[in-house]
């Protein structure tokens, strides 16, 4: 039987007329990476901060490790580690000193050098945060969430603003934290990140959870689970039209000769592949639907850093 470390029931948060979080319920299992995926303003951070005890819910219940957070805030705080979205740390303390300081605020403590080596920052132990690169800073803020050896780790958009290499580096670190038996709940607006990292995902939009399931099951929800991408320099409108009987054809935005054919089922896929090959495209690949496809279908929009 799975152990539910976080249980949320009918959670809402309203600011005036704005329903930032609108009656959501979900649970997080012990040892998994649970992702809340949504665009900016979808209510991810508000949800996270209510669970962390930083914001008071307008209504609903939050249980962490079986205890109601309303009456056990201090117990909960010792059991969780929090990385906030775009936090800075003290300017005039070294990494080691910051970790020691935060350590001293809990009764439990991990050796600063051991923590820093987890994220490859051991040789920066005596530097100030200001001397770190963006990726190093993010890594530090994650490790600073582990000072009390928490059971549950909250990561709020841990990779936002990082370059692809630094992001991949961080994914590895997050995986390693999971391997240590910790439960991780993270928010992100990167589809790829959620797909790679998360065991289960809740897709949020306008304060509501639109879908919640294991990552691969979510992807299977796609209306068009298969797709063929191809490049054809021949401008033959009739061929493209013929493709519509296999599925939905989309012209890639900004690329006149690139098309994506989305297909609903396996049998159609084989026929479609034969047809695409017959029009002799310059190039073609066959792929699966991604989380992004599901997301777009569910929310009816694309996602990115900006709204």
């Amino acid at each position: 039987m799975v152990k539910k470390v976080i249980e949320i029931k009918n959670l809402s948060k309203t600011y005036g007329k704005l329903k930032a979080v609108d009656d959501i319920s979900f649970y997080v299992e012990s040892g998994e990476i649970f992702g809340l995926l949504g665009e900016n303003g979808a209510g991810k951070s508000t949800t996270l901060e209510m669970i962390e005890g930083l914001r008071k819910p307008t209504s609903g219940d939050i249980k962490i490790l079986g205890k109601d957070i309303k009456h056990n805030v201090n117990f909960v705080k010792t059991k969780i580690g929090v990385q906030l979205q775009s936090t800075a740390y003290y300017q005039f303390l070294t990494l080691k000193e910051i970790i020691e300081l935060f350590c001293s605020l809990y009764s439990k403590c991990i050796d600063p050098y051991r923590l820093l080596s987890l994220v490859d920052l051991k040789d920066k132990a005596k530097s100030y945060v200001g001397k770190l690169s963006g990726g190093q800073r993010q890594r530090f803020s994650i490790v600073a969430a582990l000072v009390n050896d928490p059971e549950i780790v909250f990561l709020d958009e841990p990779t936002t603003g990082l370059d692809p290499l630094a992001r991949r580096n961080l994914w590895k670190i997050i995986e390693n934290i999971k391997l240590k038996g910790k439960t991780i709940i993270l928010t992100t607006h990167y589809m790829e990140e959620a797909e790679i990292l998360c065991d289960r995902i809740g897709i949020m939009d306008k304060g509501k959870i639109l879908a919640l399931d294991e990552t691969n099951k979510l992807i299977e929800m796609a209306e068009y689970p298969f797709k063929i991408s191809f490049v054809s320099s021949k401008h033959d409108g009739s061929n493209i039209k013929k493709l519509t009987k296999y599925g939905m054809v989309e012209n890639v935005i900004g690329k006149k000769n690139q098309y994506i054919l989305k297909i609903k089922n396996k049998s159609k896929l084989d026929e479609a592949v034969d047809f695409v090959r017959s029009i002799k495209p310059n190039y073609y690949t066959i792929g699966k639907a991604t989380l992004e496809d599901v997301f777009i279908e569910l929310t009816g929009k694309t996602i990115g850093d900006e709204n």
Partner: protein, 361 residues
């Protein structure tokens, strides 16, 4: 837990060299400027002494002047013209010429001391003329063997030796405490909020009051350094007169510092950004610098304005510190001052504890 937090806070204050430097530099600059203008002013300055008589009496006059501590005697001038040009060029503030045979009781011997002075330097003149007048009178009585019958008894409103520099030194002390505490807290708390450090702190089991107490205590260390530096420079470089109890003075200053830090927290709870905090701080401290009696006694103001500004937080504090430092009074001599300070502390405490939050909610 608390000790570690306190030590970390102290470390950060001293490592933030720029802000630490200015917390000390700003008041020290004022101390030096006012010291150069008004310090040492109980002394009439350098006075040339040209002794043409060179006898027992002229030498006793010289040593009396020297011992009075009012003058610095300069013996290097050898002619009246030299002295005149030196006074003109402000190298010395005045010159005294003792005529040949002064003090000898011969009919033809000269009995007049000559004072060479610059009419622009009224204070010095008054001191020298007064001093020599008294000396001459005493000498007259002694030589004519008569007893003085009528005399004037002088009574100062305070028996302590005081001058403007002493007044302003205490003002600078209060100014330093106010500026560094209000700015220090309001700006650093707003920055902590912007950087989400406050929010991050709320995710730990640390109690907010502990966080705030550590901040306040660590900043009091800066205040102690300020007080020690300002007082020692005032006393050792510019002869300031601190007559009262130094421990009570420091204690009152600390109470003032806590009050100003609370005001800093109150500002930080309203300011939405660090820039806003800076602006609000300036708007509060600059008027208070002039209206609470840092540089000028505020009872010089029109009475309707005085009625109002005497309640500004810095004003009663300066009155109390001046009472202790300059007149050796007890702070309890005027309980109104204590009431006003305590009142402000309560107000600032209420505002900060209701409005100042580590997290957004």
């Amino acid at each position: 837990m608390f000790l570690k937090l306190f030590i970390a806070d102290v470390k950060m204050i001293f490592r933030n060299r720029q802000s630490f430097f200015w917390a000390l530099m700003f008041p020290l600059m004022f101390t030096f400027i006012f010291g150069f203008f008004f310090g040492n002013s109980s002394s009439a300055g350098n006075v040339a002494y040209l002794d043409n008589a060179n006898n027992e009496i002229s030498q006793s006059l010289r040593s009396t002047m020297d011992q009075s501590g009012l003058f610095k005697i300069n013996d290097t001038y050898s002619s009246v013209d030299d002295i005149k040009s030196a006074v003109k060029n402000s190298k010395i503030s005045a010159g005294i010429v003792v005529p040949k045979g002064y003090g000898q009781q011969f009919a033809d011997s000269s009995t007049e001391l000559k004072i060479i002075y610059d009419p622009g330097n009224a204070t010095t003149n008054a001191v020298i003329v007064g001093f020599l007048d008294q000396y001459s009178t005493a000498l007259n009585y002694k030589i004519s063997n008569t007893k003085q019958i009528f005399s004037v008894v002088q009574e100062k409103i305070s028996d302590k030796e005081l001058n403007y520099f002493d007044f302003v030194l205490v003002g600078i002390l209060g100014l330093a405490l106010m500026n560094s505490s209000v700015i220090g807290i309001s700006v650093s708390m707003s920055r902590y909020r912007e950087d989400k450090i406050l929010k991050r702190i709320t995710t730990t089991p640390l109690k907010p009051w502990m966080f705030i107490t550590a901040e306040v205590l660590s900043r009091l260390i800066v205040n102690v350094i300020q007080i020690v530096l300002i007082l020692s420079i005032g006393i050792y470089f510019f002869n300031a007169h601190i007559n009262g109890s130094i421990p009570i003075l420091v204690l009152l200053s600390m109470i003032g510092a806590v009050l100003f830090q609370l005001i800093g927290f109150a500002i930080a709870s309203f300011a939405k950004s660090t820039d806003a905090a800076q602006g609000m701080t300036t708007a509060i401290t600059i008027p208070m610098m002039f209206l609470a009696g840092v540089f000028f006694p505020i009872d010089l103001l029109p009475s309707w304005l005085y009625m109002f500004v005497k309640y500004l937080p810095l004003a009663p504090l300066l009155r109390m510190i001046r009472g202790v430092a300059l007149e050796s009074l007890s702070p309890f001599d005027n309980p109104q001052n204590i009431l006003i300070v305590v009142g402000w502390i309560v107000v600032a405490l209420i505002i900060s504890s209701y409005k100042f939050r580590l997290s957004d909610e």
